[in-house]
Structure formats: C-alpha cells, structure tokens
C-alpha cells in the first residue's frame, strides 16, 4: 500500500468490519504476511518444520484480522504479532508436551483445552466433539460455542512415529528416562559410558535422552537423514548395552528392538 495522499490505515479494517468482504481481509493479511514469516522463523529449529509454523502464523493472522478492533488504539501489527506469537508458542508447547513430562498441562486454564489434552493423552488420539462434550458434562452446542469463542486448537499428538512406522507412546518415552537416569549411581555410570563415545554419538544421546527430542529433529540438527539417525542411534545404544549389561533399563525397547544387536550405521 502506497500513496502520497493521507490515507487512514485503519479504514480498511473499518470497511472489512462493515462489509465482511473477504478480499479486504485478504488484502490486509497479504500486506502483513511478512510478520507471519518473521514469527515463523523466530521459532524454527524447535521440532516443527518452519512451513508448519508459517501456516500456523498465517491462520493466526486471519483470526487477528477478524478480531481486530481499529478503535482500540493499538496498531494491527502489534495486535497481530501478539496473536501469532501466542499461537506459535501454544503450538510449540503442545509439541513439547508430546515428548516431555506433562508439566505444561498444569498450566492449562481453559477447561476445554485441559480436558481435550487429558482425553488426547488417554485415548492416544485427539478426541471428537462428542467425546469432549461427554467428558465435560456439557452439550455439543456448548463445546462448539467454546470453540467459536476461543478458537481452541488441539494439542499435538502424544505419540511419535519412528522411521519403521512403529508408534512410541509418550508414557513409554517418559518411563525410559525415569528408569534410566533417575538414580545417582546410574548417572555416574552413564557419565562414564558417555565419555567413551565420540563427540557426535554423545550429542545424539544428549539430544535424545536429555533433551528428549524426536529423531526427526535430532537428524535435522546434526545434518543427517532421519533413517540414518535411527540406525546411528540404535548402533550407539547397542554399543552402550554391550559395554554395561547391568544398565538394561537405560535402553528402552523403543530404540533398540530385541535381537537388534547387529544394527549398523553407515560410516
């Protein structure tokens, strides 16, 4: 948008509110798309592809246009930035919840989202509206009203799919870390074992078991394909297991299949 004349930048928002003309809304979104891209880039490398973040930001901006009140004295850029930032953080938090202890769940303050996450956890998939209504002891209409009012979104999945298509449940991931790293003696032994690994293997173990990142993100960080990372991880764990048999608990079956001793990684 350019022009020498004095143009009220808020007029287009007023026109949109008055007419509901989606072309006006889309013009606004297009004019501010760079903001969506900027916020998407800000949160890249945190386990969600930047294209997905960009889509999240775009949808958040569309909602921001719908909600923006030009008479409130705040610029749209500020308002949209807050909306996108919040939405991206929520998306990332949901993603993080998929692989970390569910501390974030304690912070949930909206009953719908809280219950949705509980159900997602329990069912191993996102609940349907009817299931949510049942769990909330509410009518389907009331749930839909909550959706309409809050634009609630689902939590990310709480399972992770490995390269071979096998599904790893969040509880399994968490129990592995609790058993393996929960005891002081074991920690010392693990530290000794890790010292024997080369730098990259140590980094893979750190990212997988201490940072609890998914294989896809680890692969991205160290610059290898996910299938290669999967083989590499198995090789490292088999190697560790062979070094110290007493610590079987550290190596979960999620990462090393029984009898997988001959797993090898490409050099």
């Amino acid at each position: 948008m350019s022009g020498g004349d004095t143009v009220d930048p808020l007029q287009i928002f007023r026109d949109y509110r008055a007419t509901g003309d989606r072309r006006l809304r889309n013009d606004i979104v297009e004019d501010h798309r760079h903001l969506a891209d900027r916020f998407a880039r800000r949160y890249r490398s945190r386990g969600i592809p930047v294209d997905d973040l960009r889509q999240t930001a775009l949808l958040a901006m569309v909602r921001a246009v719908d909600r923006f009140d030009p008479e409130q004295g705040v610029t749209f850029a500020t308002f949209a930035s807050r909306t996108m930032d919040g939405e991206l953080k929520r998306t990332l938090r949901d993603k993080a919840w998929a692989v970390r202890p569910p501390r974030a769940a304690q912070e949930r303050h909206l009953a719908l989202r809280k219950r949705e996450e509980e159900l997602t956890h329990r069912l191993g998939r996102a609940p349907s509206i009817a299931e949510l209504a049942g769990a909330l002891d509410a009518t389907v209409d009331e749930v839909l009203e909550a959706v309409e009012a809050g634009g609630a979104r689902t939590a990310g999945g709480i399972t992770r799919t490995n390269d071979d298509g096998s599904v790893v449940d969040a509880d399994d991931l968490l129990s592995v870390s609790d058993i393996g790293f929960g005891r002081t003696d074991d920690r010392l032994l693990v530290a000794q074992l890790l010292d024997q690994l080369d730098e990259r293997s140590r980094e893979v173990i750190r990212l997988r078991f201490f940072e609890r990142l998914g294989q896809d993100e680890i692969a991205q960080r160290i610059g290898v394909s996910q299938s290669y990372l999967s083989r590499l991880l198995r090789k490292i764990l088999v190697d560790l297991r062979s070094r110290i048999g007493e610590l079987d608990g550290i190596v979960g079956d999620d990462d090393v299949e029984p009898g997988d001793d001959r797993s090898t990684a490409a050099p």
Binding site: T19, G20, D21, R22, R23, R25, N26, D27, V29, E30, R33, Q55, L58, L59, V62, E116, R125, A126, P127, S128, I129, A130, L132, A133, V140, D141, V143, L144, V147, E148, G151, A152, R153, T154, V167
Partner: protein, 127 residues
C-alpha cells in the same frame, strides 16, 4: 434450514457478513462425526473461504445455497449461486488458506451457476 439424518440445506443471501451462519452450521454437523477440534476449525475456515469465493462479486439479490451431507464417515459440503457464472480469480491469501484446510476442493461453474464442492473425512482413529 432443513435437516435430516443425511443432510442439511442452508439458503443465505450472498452477503459475506452472514457466512458466520454457514460456519456454525458446518461445525454443528461435523460434531456428529468423529472430527477433532482442529478438524472443525479447518472446516469452518474451508467453508467460509469457499462460500466467500462463491459469492464474490455477486449482488445482494443473489442467493447462496449450501448443502452439507453426511455420507458415511465423511462430510460433503457443496455450494451453488444461481446465475453467478465464472468465479473471479481467487485472492492469493484465499488460495493459501484453502490449500491448508481444504485440500481437494473444487470451485467452478455448472451451466450458469457458480458451484463448489469439498469433502472432509475424519482422521482415522485407532489403528
């Protein structure tokens, strides 16, 4: 609005301000199927965008006819604006949004009518 077990029909003036009614209708019907909140959010956006495209450039006397059909486990949404002809080129943002939430949608003409169609299936549950 007429409803039965299989479908609902909605007739609206071609006024973008009234598309909220279409959003509520599709969300209500989708709630009868095992859709998630995210699916329903996407459905609302998809219907809003397609319906907005269908009435784009139409005068206030035009009418948008929407049909929401539950076919097994999928929801089929169709729209028609009689005599509206070819839809104008879509805004790039609308194209992006529909690409995100309404993969496989169709919008075009049927005789002199402007029509669209979109099918949404619930995610496979269990495995």
């Amino acid at each position: 609005m007429r409803t039965d077990h299989r479908h609902a029909e909605l007739r609206l003036p071609a006024d973008p301000r009234l598309l909220r009614v279409a959003r509520v209708a599709v969300a209500s019907l989708a709630a009868e199927l095992p859709f998630t909140l995210q699916d329903i959010e996407d459905l609302r956006i998809a219907v809003d965008e397609l319906a907005a495209a269908a009435i784009d450039g139409c005068g206030p006397d035009s009418t948008l006819d929407l049909r929401f059909e539950v076919d097994g486990q999928e929801l089929v949404v169709t729209g028609r604006v009689e005599g509206a002809g070819e839809p104008p080129p879509m805004h790039p943002v609308a194209i992006d949004l529909l690409g995100l939430v309404a993969a496989g949608h169709e919008i075009g003409i049927d005789g002199d009518d402007r029509v669209f169609r979109f099918t949404k299936r619930p995610p496979t549950t269990g495995s």
